[in-house]
Symmetry: C2
Subunit: 251 residues, 2 copies
Amino acid sequence: MAAPKTRNNRQTPCEQCPLRALPHFREFKPDELDFVSNFKTGELAVDAGTTILVEGSHSAHLFTVLSGWGFRYKMLDDGRRQILNYMMPGDLIGLQGSLMGEMQHSVEALSPVTLCVFERDKLGTLYRNYPDLAYDLTWIAAQEERILDENLLSIGRRSALERAAYLLAFLYQRAKASNLFKGARVSIPITQQHVADTLGLSIVHTNKTLKKLGERKLIRWADRGCDILDDEGLMKISGWEGYHDKNRPFI
Amino acid sequence: MAAPKTRNNRQTPCEQCPLRALPHFREFKPDELDFVSNFKTGELAVDAGTTILVEGSHSAHLFTVLSGWGFRYKMLDDGRRQILNYMMPGDLIGLQGSLMGEMQHSVEALSPVTLCVFERDKLGTLYRNYPDLAYDLTWIAAQEERILDENLLSIGRRSALERAAYLLAFLYQRAKASNLFKGARVSIPITQQHVADTLGLSIVHTNKTLKKLGERKLIRWADRGCDILDDEGLMKISGWEGYHDKNRPFI
DNA sequence: CGGTATGTTGAACACTATCAATCGGGGTGG
DNA sequence: CCACCCCGATTGATAGTGTTCAACATACCG
């Protein structure tokens, strides 16, 4: 019998959470760690391509990405798709849905993804008894807002080449902070279609734009993914200065 | 001696807040009202065109719009501007800056605006003692995120005509909920340059696109503003379904 | 009355989309 | 093992959307 694609049994205790070990993330106080450990009801592992949350649905769960890559998107009736943001280890998924009922966007895995599962019912306890964690949740929502602001500026006002450079520099910086490259040179696991749907461009024009970045030795398009060769060069083209977060909160 | 442009004296007690009277907004519990009343340290009135918050600055204050229209934007070094969202009565301004230190966007008034002023130092007390208000703050941040998601979809994937229709329907619906039209037919106080900077289009093409909407009797461009003649027609063109919020929280 | 801000219009041009065809790698079934 | 198919990437040609430039109209303001 084949191994199941998804498992629900708990595997990584919060006390040994690998994310807390990274300098990018902040430490918990002991009582907070206890609560979070209890808040977490399980773990979910999904394959690349799996839809984790669907627009229009009501989910009883919240997730934090423990490993892997994903993305958030919305679609129009005729199939046009807009990718809103990418999810990496430490990112919270489904807060919007938990607070406002219905999901207004979908979430899909780009690679095999492991998720910590939380019950949205326990959010009330969190707000009542753990004000610092409540503050962190607001912080996380505000941080997402900040990223969306930047994306909006990019799509609205940057040229195709600038947009592409911004996106790849952005993904590179975030992935590095989340330790997704683990020392080794790992590609960003996206297709050119994902890039196109993020930047608001057609797939053909995206291809030609990425080729220009390749000719300038800033990136190399690998098999089903992108290698960043010169992130500072990308940031220079895009005019983006990057983030400077340290000790980021997460749940 | 001329009247000062801005006043700092308190004028509208929270107990008589005109926003709470609107069906769109939720009611406070008595102790919450007490706290908010104390949280509010003053009121600020500014003229149209005033910059309320500047990108890169550190503000000690948070604001809620009590009356008037404003907008949030970011700029690139060479002057390209992207409007991110519009502010109307009940909207909170500066939460991002309060949580993360530096403002990453600017805020400007479109009309005379009155603001309730809050001290960001008291946010800690709010989180420690008023979990429901803390929850509301997260809700407000998530709501902003939802709007940005929708804007991103619009700019990234809708045509110029669809984008313009979406924007005007969106502004109309929000303004109506915030009672900005007060029964009388009041124009949305924006210039075509604002529309262009919101939609990611040039001013010339924006003008031609708005003209098309005018020819279809969906809007009428007035002096320095826009009248909505057929909001359902606009929603139909854009493919946007609108929001369905009732009893929205605000601070 | 000149100056500024906003809105309008036409023409030429550039960027991006669409269409169509091809290529290469990986997986599958014969 | 090989033919076949599918997906993602690539490329050229053509069409179309949106930009830029430039000129002009209108209203408001000191």
